[in-house]
């Protein structure tokens, strides 16, 4: 269960605090999927990073599975992210020095618990349709393929929460459709909570629940 309660985020500026988020509350359980839309600079990514425990809120509380990650020390927080949260960024952020399979396995290096992950990585890559590209380097793949690897990497540790920041933002229409389909298919199969931040109305339309971030708060999006 992901519970966000009255989340707020302000940034100090020379002209006084800039409020990006204010009084955001959200409650999502396993299998829920939400798309958050909004114009540039509306604070979508900030919200996503707060939900992903990458950035602390100025106010409000966040719990995932009953645990507030911002109460953790750095080392525990890192372990929490590793175990419970998966990320997909607009820019795939693959390690160019590693092969496709290795990139997917990167999160497993945090612990020495490697058992079974190799098979899971191969399975995930098969699910994203890249089982024949295991040894390729990111530079040898298209944008869509890279994003599919990023998706597989995000799911390798069976996270409770999958966060995607403009996952199709850099992709052409066909690739974007493929990635979107995979995203929706895999989150259901993995029974994770999926939160996607996107500009793409097309992508958002495929989500059962949609919000729009305006004036620092979430509003149900029009159908």
């Amino acid at each position: 269960m992901l519970e966000a309660s009255s989340l707020a985020k302000e940034y100090p500026t020379p002209r006084g605090p800039l409020t990006v988020l204010s009084g955001i509350s959200l409650c999502l359980k396993r299998g829920d999927a939400v798309a958050i839309m909004g114009p540039s600079g509306s604070g979508k990514s900030t919200l996503l990073y707060i939900l992903g425990a990458l950035e602390p809120p100025t106010a409000g509380t966040l719990t995932l599975d009953g645990r507030n990650p911002f109460q953790f020390a750095e080392r525990e927080l890192a372990a929490f992210r590793n175990q419970s949260i998966g990320f997909v960024f607009q820019d795939h952020c693959l390690l160019p020095q590693c092969s496709v399979l290795e990139n997917v396995l990167i999160p497993t290096l945090v612990t020495n618990d490697h058992a079974g992950y190799r098979d899971r990585a191969r399975a995930l890559l098969e699910q994203v349709g890249l089982s024949d590209r295991l040894d390729h380097r990111p530079s040898e793949l298209s944008g869509g393929e890279k994003q599919r690897i990023a998706l597989a990497r995000a799911l390798i540790r069976k996270p409770l929460l999958l966060l995607c920041d403009e996952p199709t933002g850099n992709l052409d229409q066909t690739s974007a459709a493929v990635v979107a389909s995979l995203l929706l298919e895999l989150y259901q199969r993995q029974e994770t909570i999926l939160v996607v931040v996107t500009h793409s109305a097309e992508l958002a339309s495929r989500f059962p629940v949609r919000y729009e971030l305006r004036h620092a708060n979430l509003h149900p999006a029009a159908a």
Binding site: A78, Q97, E102, I106
Partner: protein, 1064 residues
């Protein structure tokens, strides 16, 4: 596919993927290891080379037994594997050309030496002489050429005593140059790195010409397994009294033994031993002092040239002012008891002049010429006197007025020979005629005992009597550890190079980390904790450092070899030998590798500290966390305050000025870099008005990189500018205003400033020329010219008048006084001898400090003052009084400062060197002597500067790398600018502005702080700033930096515009 993703896999991927950056880091570490290991290797190599020289030159010699005088050569047979030789210093002249070499070691050897040293071929025989290669080069010549060697004539009788033969102290021996049948090993007993200047002559020939048949003055002993203690015990068991120049005569008529010495004087130590031994055997001793009176006068009558004996027993009177005359003398003088008797006699005083003194006595008694009063054996053997048949045959070493000799005197000589004509109390005699060599002429032991001779032999310690055993090889090897630790020096010299390499390592590693910030962000988002990430990067750093260390070991060998080559060639002036070679050993390489690896790793760990403050989101967004300019300003201000405090302390002389200014300069350098850091951070939001300000803004984008570049350039400049200030100029106050300095191989006994002295020395009167003669005890050169650790430094004693003239400049003294020379005459309750040394020798060769005590040959010295950059860099200076007490056997003057009208220096040099050629008198311009020392110092500085310059090159390379990285990272930005209408030259202007800013900040900061640091050196020490060469160097750096800017711009612009834009 069988893929297991492990940390090691990721590590491997990272290492290979970022190979360019990693290679740079690896090269940085390997450079540091190479420089560090190489420097240590150089130290080790110099020590090993010096050891090799000692071992090669000593051959099989482990111990040396030597004496100032001569002893029986058969004494050598007491030791297994030994050989007797004569070792003597000489002037060697190649007669056909007239070429002359002073201070040559001459060894008189025979086949025993050849066998001992396992030399091939035959030793020289007959009139042959072999020259060492260096001496042969110096003198030239060919086989069968005539070679003259001029050596000091051995004289058992001290030259500086009345009976010493001062007129002809040398002996010339004519020999024929022999061409060696086979290369013979260069032999030298001296531990010094310079060429061996030695001649080898037949022992028998030298013995004959020196009138020392069957005698030697040195025994070489082999067999390192034997201890010094055993050699000393064997010597004590086997020596004979005559080996110490002592003899015991049995006087039948007097029914006693007479202990006499070849020197005709019994030293106090011998007299004490003789007395103690006699008492232990229940025997009685009677000390005797006999002297020659020029006249015994009573009223208007006199008896010329009479022997007078001082005794503690009759016939000598007991009252101090009383005298006993023999009946013959009393009759001749018509003297009766109670008459006043005046004795006139010569005294040779330590001023190098013969004085006539007199003493008045009261005639106490007249004794008949019989019994104890008719004892002609009271007189020791005086060559030229005692064996003469008549007074007219006397050939004494002092003026004799034979016109005063009457027939009756001749008659007395014929009848009574050396029988004394007068007797005085011993104490009075000793007061009048005692010298530093002794206060007795013989000691009589009564009654004669067969046991006495051996008992005395057992009681005497040969070492204390001048027959000394030296563990020459062990001492040489110990000295080979060196006065200068070259490893340490080259560590200092290479320090900046090493720091540059490490800064570059850190810089490249930082660039690598910065390049991977997004990757780090992803990893953190994926759950990698900071410690995990840090350990991952540290693992990478370790792998790179380990590889760098392995590569660095090779680099250390190359670097060490190049430095050794440099020491043999470009910097040979600093070491004075070409016999240095690289000696490879594990220890310095291992230490270098370990230390280089550790510092490389430290450098990367420090870089990783910057990871922590940046949030994963910031990392993903490519944001860097910058410290505020306020903190930098605070640090800069604090450091500035400390620097100003140091400066103030130095100005009011609460702190050594050089140290204070240097410390302040260094701190100001740090403060300036901190201020610049704050400034760069503050400029990050400054308005952009054009391409130049845009370029300047770029320098503020990554302030850490910019700061590292500035620090590199600034500290290199600081080092180079400050070093140049310490270069010594040719002209210096270190000569004390004396234009010439001279040394002689044979001692000059006479005072050359007096007409009598000049006559004796056969030198003309030279208008305006004054000699300041110094006594010299030969020893190890304590100057920077000697690489070996001086264990027994040369000791000089200036005359008292010189001390009062207050010449030369002092760096410091234990007591603030206008004339520190006078501290030499201060008496110390603990018997420590006050000594003055040159400040450079004190610090760098002797490794002592002002006020410190040290021991040479069981004598304690204390440094009471340090001369500032003087020509006395090779020796200790003590008072003449202390010198004569410590070294009574070292006679005459062998070191001279000459006051000469500067215009006549050359002419005087020619005249004196010619007139005193037989003494091996070598004159050198004082400034040239000083310049010889300066040359060594300046060579060291050049070495330092060269390596510092290399560091500067590395700094410039680092700057270029930073620049290139910055430009490449901004490729898209530059492409965009081009898209909106910027031309390439606009972009070049921006890049050059950025680079120039960093370069100028570095150069100006380094130069300004260095100028402050060296101000006292420039103003007080007479150092000077070689503005031309310095400007050239700094301009070179500037040009290189601008070149690097243009290259970086070109590299950035090479990528097509659209491609760069597309990647946006």
């Amino acid at each position: 596919m069988n893929c297991v993703m492990r940390t090691s896999t990721l590590l491997q991927r990272n290492l290979t993927w970022y190979w360019r950056t990693n290679l740079a880091v690896l090269l940085g570490v390997s450079t540091a290891v190479g420089v560090l290991g190489g420097a240590l290797l150089v130290g080790d190599s110099v020590r090993s080379s010096l050891r090799d020289l000692v071992l090669a030159r000593l051959g099989n010699t482990d111990f040396v037994i030597s004496r100032n005088g001569f002893f029986r050569e058969e004494l050598a047979s007491a030791f297994d594997s030994s050989c007797p030789i004569i070792a003597i210093s000489a002037v060697v002249v190649h007669e056909p050309s007239g070429r002359r070499a002073s201070a040559v070691e001459v060894y008189g050897v025979d086949e025993r030496f050849w066998k001992f040293q396992a030399e091939p071929g035959q030793p020289p025989s007959g009139q042959e002489i072999l020259l060492s290669a260096a001496l042969e080069r110096e003198l030239g010549g060919k086989a069968d050429d005539a070679i003259l060697i001029r050596v000091q004539k051995p004289s058992a009788i001290p030259l500086e005593s009345l009976h010493g033969r001062k007129q002809d102290v040398g002996k010339t021996i004519r020999l024929t140059l022999k061409w060696p049948e086979a290369a013979f090993r260069e032999f030298s007993l001296e531990a010094q790195q310079g060429d061996v200047r030695a001649a080898i002559v037949p022992l028998t020939r030298l013995q004959r010409d020196l009138d020392q048949k069957g005698k030697a003055n040195t025994i070489l002993v082999a067999n390192g397994a034997v201890s010094l203690d055993l050699i000393e015990r064997t010597l004590k068991d086997r020596y004979a009294l005559e080996d110490l120049g002592i003899r015991l005569r049995t006087l039948e008529r007097q029914h006693c033994l007479s202990l006499e010495a070849d020197s005709a004087q019994i030293s106090d130590a011998l007299a004490d031993a003789a007395s103690t031994t006699a008492k232990s055997l229940g025997l009685r001793v009677e000390p005797v002092l006999t002297y020659l009176a020029n006249s015994i006068r009573v009223g208007g009558r006199e008896v010329p040239y009479s022997v007078v004996t001082a005794l503690d027993s009759p016939p000598a009177p007991s009252e101090p002012d009383a005298i006993t005359l023999s009946q013959w003398t009393a009759l001749d003088l018509r003297a009766k008891p109670g008459d006043a008797v005046t004795l006139e006699y010569y005294l040779w005083k330590s001023d190098g002049l013969l004085h006539t003194d007199s003493a008045r006595f009261r005639l106490a008694q007249v004794v008949p010429l019989e019994g104890a009063a008719a004892d002609r054996d009271l007189v020791p053997q005086y060559p030229g006197i005692t064996e003469s048949k008549s007074l007219h045959d006397w050939d004494p070493p002092f003026p004799l007025d034979l016109s005063r000799v009457r027939p009756s005197d001749e008659q007395y000589w014929k009848q009574y020979r050396t029988t004394p004509k007068a007797f005085v109390p011993l104490a009075r005699g000793q007061q009048l005629w005692g010298t530093r060599f002794g206060r007795l002429t013989s000691v009589r032991i009564l009654p004669p005992s067969d046991a006495y001779s051996n008992a005395l032999r057992m009681a005497l310690d040969p070492a204390k009597m001048g027959l000394t055993v030296f563990a020459t090889k062990a001492q040489g090897l110990a000295a080979a550890r060196g006065a200068t630790d070259f490893g340490e020096y080259f560590l200092y010299f290479s320090f900046f190079l090493m720091v540059s390499a490490l800064l570059l390592t850190g810089l490249f590693f930082r660039l690598g980390v910065e390049q991977r910030m997004r990757e780090i962000g992803v990893l953190r988002a994926l759950g990698f904790s900071i410690p995990k990430l840090r350990s991952l990067f540290l693992l990478e750093g370790t792998a790179l450092a380990a590889a760098g260390a392995i590569l660095g070991i090779g680099a250390a060998l190359v670097y060490g070899d190049i430095i050794m080559l440099g020491l043999r060639t470009w910097w040979v002036a600093a070491v004075g030998t070409k016999s240095l070679s690289l000696h490879t050993s594990i220890a310095p390489l291992a230490v270098g590798a370990a230390a280089g690896m550790a510092t490389g790793l430290g450098s990367t760990a420090w870089t990783l500290r910057s990871l922590q403050p940046v949030t994963p989101r910031g990392l993903l967004a490519g944001v860097e966390k910058h410290t505020s300019s306020g903190r930098w300003l605070l640090v800069a201000s604090l450091v500035t305050v400390i620097a100003l405090a140091l400066l103030a302390a130095a100005l009011v002389r609460e702190l050594d000025q050089t140290a204070g200014f240097f410390g302040a300069g260094t701190l100001l350098l740090i403060a300036a870099v901190c201020f610049e850091s704050a400034w760069l951070r503050a400029r990050s939001s400054a308005a952009i008005r054009g391409q130049i300000t845009l370029g300047v803004r770029s320098a503020t984008y990554r302030p850490g990189r910019s700061l590292l570049s500035i620090a590199l350039i600034a500290s290199a400049t600081f080092i180079i500018v400050s070093l140049d200030a310490f270069r010594r100029s040719e002209a210096s106050a270190g000569t004390g205003g004396f234009p010439l300095v001279a040394e002689s191989v044979l001692p000059l006994i006479h005072e050359p400033n007096t007409p009598a002295g000049r006559d004796a020395l056969n030198i003309p009167r030279l208008e305006g020329v004054q000699f300041v003669p110094f006594r010299l005890r030969p020893g190890d050169d304590a100057s920077c010219l000697n690489l070996y650790q001086p264990r027994n430094p040369r000791i000089l004693a200036p005359p008292a008048a010189f001390l009062r003239s207050a010449r030369f400049r002092f760096q410091d003294s234990v007591v603030r006084t206008p004339n520190p020379w006078l501290l030499l005459e201060s008496e110390t309750a603990d018997g420590v001898i006050p000594a003055i040394v040159d400040a450079n020798s004190m610090t760098y060769s002797l490794h002592l400090h002002l006020g410190e005590e040290f021991v040479v040959d069981q004598t304690r010295f204390r440094i009471v003052a340090a001369l500032a950059d003087s020509l006395f860099q090779g020796e200790l200076l003590i008072s003449e009084k202390s010198f004569l007490r410590l070294f009574p056997d070292v006679e005459g003057y062998r070191f001279f400062l000459l006051s000469v009208p500067p215009a006549r220096a050359q002419e005087v040099t020619g005249v004196l060197e010619g007139a005193l050629a037989d003494y091996g008198f070598d004159i050198q311009p004082a400034e040239a002597r000083l310049a010889g020392f300066h040359k060594v110092e300046n060579t060291y500085l050049s070495t330092f500067r060269s390596l510092g310059g290399l560091g500067l090159v590395l700094g410039t390379v680092g700057l270029g790398a930073v620049l290139l990285r910055n430009v490449l990272e901004r490729r898209r930005e530059l492409a965009l600018l081009r898209a909106v209408g910027y031309r390439p030259q606009h972009l070049a202007t921006m890049v050059i502005a950025e680079n120039l800013l960093l370069l100028l900040l570095g150069l100006v900061t380094g130069t300004a702080c260095a100028l402050l640091a060296i101000a006292p050196a420039v103003l007080l020490r007479g150092g000077r700033l070689p503005a031309a060469s310095l400007s050239l160097l700094l301009a070179g750096v500037l040009v290189t930096g601008i070149g690097a800017s243009l290259a970086a711009t070109a590299a950035a612009l090479r990528s097509p515009l659209l491609m760069a834009l597309r990647s946006e």
